[in-house]
Amino acid sequence: MSDIKVTLAVEDRAENQDTLSISEIVPRIVAERKSFVDVTEESLLEEIANCVADSADDNVKDEVDEKPDESPFDQHRLKLLENVKAAYNESALALDFVSLLISSVRPTSASTSMSPHLKTHIPVGSLGADRVPAPQVANEPGVGIGWKIESLTNARDRLKTCASRLRTEAAKEKTYWAGVASIAATGEVLFKVRNSDTRGLGIKYGFGDAGSKYRDPGIGVLKRSATGTVDFEPKEEVQKKFVRVTIKSEEGEVTKSVSNVYTRDSKPPTDPTLAAIHETRHALFEEELFFEIAREARLLTSRKVTVADGAVTVDLGEGDMVVIEWVEVPEEPTTTFAPSLANLFVLALRLLLANAHRQQLEKMRTPPAPLQSKGGPNPNPPLPILRPLLAHILHKRLVSRARRSLYLLSTTHSGLSFEITTNNSTDKESSSLGRLMAAPVSNLKIKFSDKGNAKVVIPSPLQSHQSMFDVTMFKGTSQETVTSHTGFHELVELEEWVRWAADRSEPKKSN
């Protein structure tokens, strides 16, 4: 029997891969390579090149293994058959025995498995059986102890792993809470988050508490990382961009000044989480600034402020333009603050947003106005950021234009004299913003020799309820008798009127 090899292991077969058909190979390729996707001719060629070195040994072994079996087949077959027969006989006898034994208890079911030979020769149920009382097993204490020891060892190992895991967990928790504490110590607002999807510690890094009503409230989650450090994750992605102001002249052809400052810490905190929080907060501030400016710009469309191509463009007239963009933070930020016009401009914008936040906060603190049945003002009006700045810039330009043209007029009309005073009274309450918060007003006094004098009030150019030049004409040199009162919208109109009034008060000698 020893010369017949019967094994459950797959015999090495001399499979001739060359003869396999495509329909056979393709499924095998898919099975071997998981997918057909990565199988390319190039990768195969490479593989073949790599395999060339190793293949020699393999081939030798293959040769050895694949020795053909020389034993005569019939002999083997007969022996096999004999063995099978013997085994069959043995098993039949065993079956008969068991059947006969059972037939004393359950004759019908036992009779089915009895061989006909047995049935005919021995009556059913003729073999009986009875329980032999088992001999008393001696109590082996060693076995029990052995088992116990094994269980205890297992338990100990488990406890050990648990303890070590707990220790590492505790260490992680410690680093986490230490991180949280250090963040909390810097004054950040932390709160519990119990949402369906996120649970943990939330952080308010935005400006909602400072009065901002921006769509992104600036809420993030402080998560514990795998190593136990605090990971800061903002709820909404905040793009790392900043507001850049470019001041151009000559119809935007010449760039005069570009701002390069943006909100950031002068000394970033060493803690990377805190640094990330600060950075995100600053980015959020810049984002809010830009979108508030864009929202406000829509109100100013008739004042030559356009929102196009992702930028807010302010046309100041006379070819001067201010372009406000939201651009990516440069890789290497400038470290020094250059007091260029654009830098100052963008600084003023930021101060104004902060101020607007404060105003909103105050408004939120005051009791709300009674509800109106319908209508009512816009609950979320654009913040005054661009408007105060623009009002002053445009006003100043207008006043200087007025001064220029009046000067020209006074050279041709001898009796004409004028004086411009701009209201510079700053309110001490809002001293940080100086006169930005007050609407600009200039007063212009014009004297037409002794015959009359006029008072011209030049208000903020962005208001719409009043004329740009509010003109009151008085008789004589005092301001008592009003002879006329009117309002002009354009400087040309004022100029024309002044010319007329000057001509009238002092007719030209040539005529």
Partner: protein
Amino acid sequence: MKGSDIPHVEANYVDLGRAVGTVCDNAHRELANVLETLPSTPADVAKKQALLEVLVRARQEFVRTYVLTKWAKVSEDVTKCIDVVAWLHGQRNCFDNLNHMLVGLGRDLGAAKSRNPDLQTAVQVLTRGAPTTFGDHDMAPKKKLKPQTILRTLRDLNVLLSVQLAQSTDIPPQFKRYKIANGRATFTVANAFEVDVGIADDTLDGPFFFIDFRLLFGDRKELPPQTRGMLERAGNSALAQRGLSALYSLLMKFALNYKLALIYKQIMEMSKGLWSGTLRHRFYQERSLIALEYWVSQHATHRPKSTLEIGIFSESDLRIAVRWSRQGEEVPYSEHQIQFGGESTDVASLLEYVTTLHLKHIISCVYTKLRALLGDSSDMVSLCSDGHKLRFRLTSLRSTVFTVDRLTGKTVLENATSLILSAERSLNELVSRPDQAASVLFKLRLLSLENDIRTRACATGWTAQNVTLSTDEMKTHFGFTTRYVLFLRQPQWPSNWFVVVTVPEDGSLPLWWIAKLRVRKDTAWTAECMDRIHVNQDLDSLYDYELLTQMVTFASHRIVLHPILDELRAAKTPFRLLRSAQHTPVVAIDNSALVTSWSHSSLLILPEMSAGSMDMKLHVQGRAKTVMNLPSNDSIDFDASTGIYKLTLEGANTPGFSLVNKLKERLQQIEQIVSYIELIKDLGLELVTASMQQIKFKLGDAQVSVDIPSELNPNITLHLSPTDPHNIIHSYLQETLNSSGLRPVVWLLQTTRNLYTTLQKLQKTRGGDPEQLEKIISNLSISDLETRQKQLQPRLSIVPRSAAFVRLVYPGKMNIDVTLVRHSATLDGVKFFIKESPLELPPPPQPGQPPVAVPRKLQVWNGSVTPDVDVGKAVYLNDGIACEGDNVGKVLEWVDKQIGK
């Protein structure tokens, strides 16, 4: 065929009698039993129930017995029936037994069953000595395929694929571009996807299978494995069922929907950013459609929506298309030609493109409409070069730019003033923008015009007042097309006078009116009079300061003139008002009712006002028919060369001033003067000076002046020079002048010149000079006066009785009367009668008696004394002498001499 009989059953038969007996016995026993046991049952109900049960049971038994007795009548049939039933039962038992036996047989045969012979393995074992390939039923790991094999297979596959694809007929056109390599065919659909397909069979019509799929847009990330697996399954099933075209449509749909999702993501991002509040979007996934509404406005909620529908519209033509609906109406592709969803999937640029087109559309629509509305003055509006803006000239100085903000869709008007801003607001609330915008802009122009006029008027000292005129009034006065009316006034004017500026809606130039209004009971006003002022204007000089200043003068004049014109109207004097704002108003009057023929009939009245007050002078100008050389003075001015005369009337603004009366008065005055001058000319006298007050002319050597009646001096007065001899009869002459005019006076003066000269001479010689006398008297004291009375008493007094009758009184001697008689019949009909009049009048004659002749003292009257000097022609008339004007002096001297004797 008759079968055998059913076997008769005899077992278990019981006699009926026995059965009945048993039943009865049973019933009886039960009843008895019950009756015995009942007393032990405690409850009454239970007793009854137990009894009832027994009775019911007994009844059932008896019913059955009854049935049996009935059956006994047909015992034959019942017996038969019983046999049949018994037989049938037997049959059923047979079948049941058979069934059981078969089951048992099957079970018993189990042991006899043998395994299926594994013939294939058997053959292998027989031929090779061991089972080969399939023996392990793929349970054992196989040896890895050699890369060489795979490579070869791939190359084989390449060949097979190219053959198969070349032969294939159902390749969709989108799959015409393919590449065969690596044992697979790669189909590429531009901007969509790439798919790798392989074959698993070497038959030429074998099915393809799905290998790999890649998206060719977006960030080209690997698809998540779940999606990929799902796609592979779906792809393989599509390939198996309907081939490549099914695969194409499956994958294309997948790719396009994926793309749509990416687009939608972009839109979501956009609506958070700069476009926030201006977009409204929805993704209909089941329809593969994104509806994107742009220019969402809170104000114009009723305006039809402008939307972009991005999606797959056709199953047959799989691509992303855009349907654009501009304010509710779909724009055909030929117009917009949007290329989207293929190469470009940038929604921002799509929106930019669409909004630009929309903007251009609006601008061009408004432009066309506005040009149509403006008519002649269509050069007021012009398109900016790129068509994104519309420049609209509102007034000479002001213009606005109309455009639409591409982000929000809001209408924007540049150069904001409060007026323009309110127009912008109403433009933004319009429902249908291009249709109505033009009319709003047009209205804005009218309002701006009105506003400009108001501003400038206010700058020159006018005040604008809000006055509401009823619609009817507006229509009657200004016509149907006028809506914008401006009421201006000057502070010093009466409160009900206005200058009205109307801006006609047809775009023509503003009209100027002067109006007198009256407040009615309610706040409305009604016009009492409304007069057009003709202004020479074009748009630029429409409201310049010059005009407005002139307008003050003109309108003030016109206001003051108004009552005068009313008076003229009332007096039915034909007149015409020559109006022009650049000049003061002039009234032309037909004065034929006022003056006679000396002047031309037309009379111009030019008012003149002092600045700042309402005092007014009227300058009247007329032209005399004949050229007169009248000297000018302050009240009248004659132009000697042209005959134009000018006179000035003052106080025209005072109440109660009557032009007609004044004019009549002044014209009469002139007429008088003119008539005097004419007379003087007629008489051949030399005119020395002439003025409205006085006419001075030469009469011989003397100068005579006549005061013309005027306001100051209502009477006509004659002035003679102090040495003039006619002074004696001055009062009579004045009387004559008053009663009969100048002519008789002049005649008298001429005729009696000789007489009074002589009389003056006589008085000088006889009576002394009265002046001298005066002097003497003034130097004397009263006592002296008495003493010298006699001496001073003149020897001759001249007592004029009338202009034509003078008495010379020689005190104590006689009286001489000189009478002027005129006989008009004769040519030289002027005669002087000099006669002596008695000192005392004779007593009046008795009736019937002839008058007694009074004795004459002088003897000269009858011609008895011949004059020693030549006295000319004289006729002696007994009691007097008649002589002519030339010689009356001489006669008188002679008579005087005679008296002196």
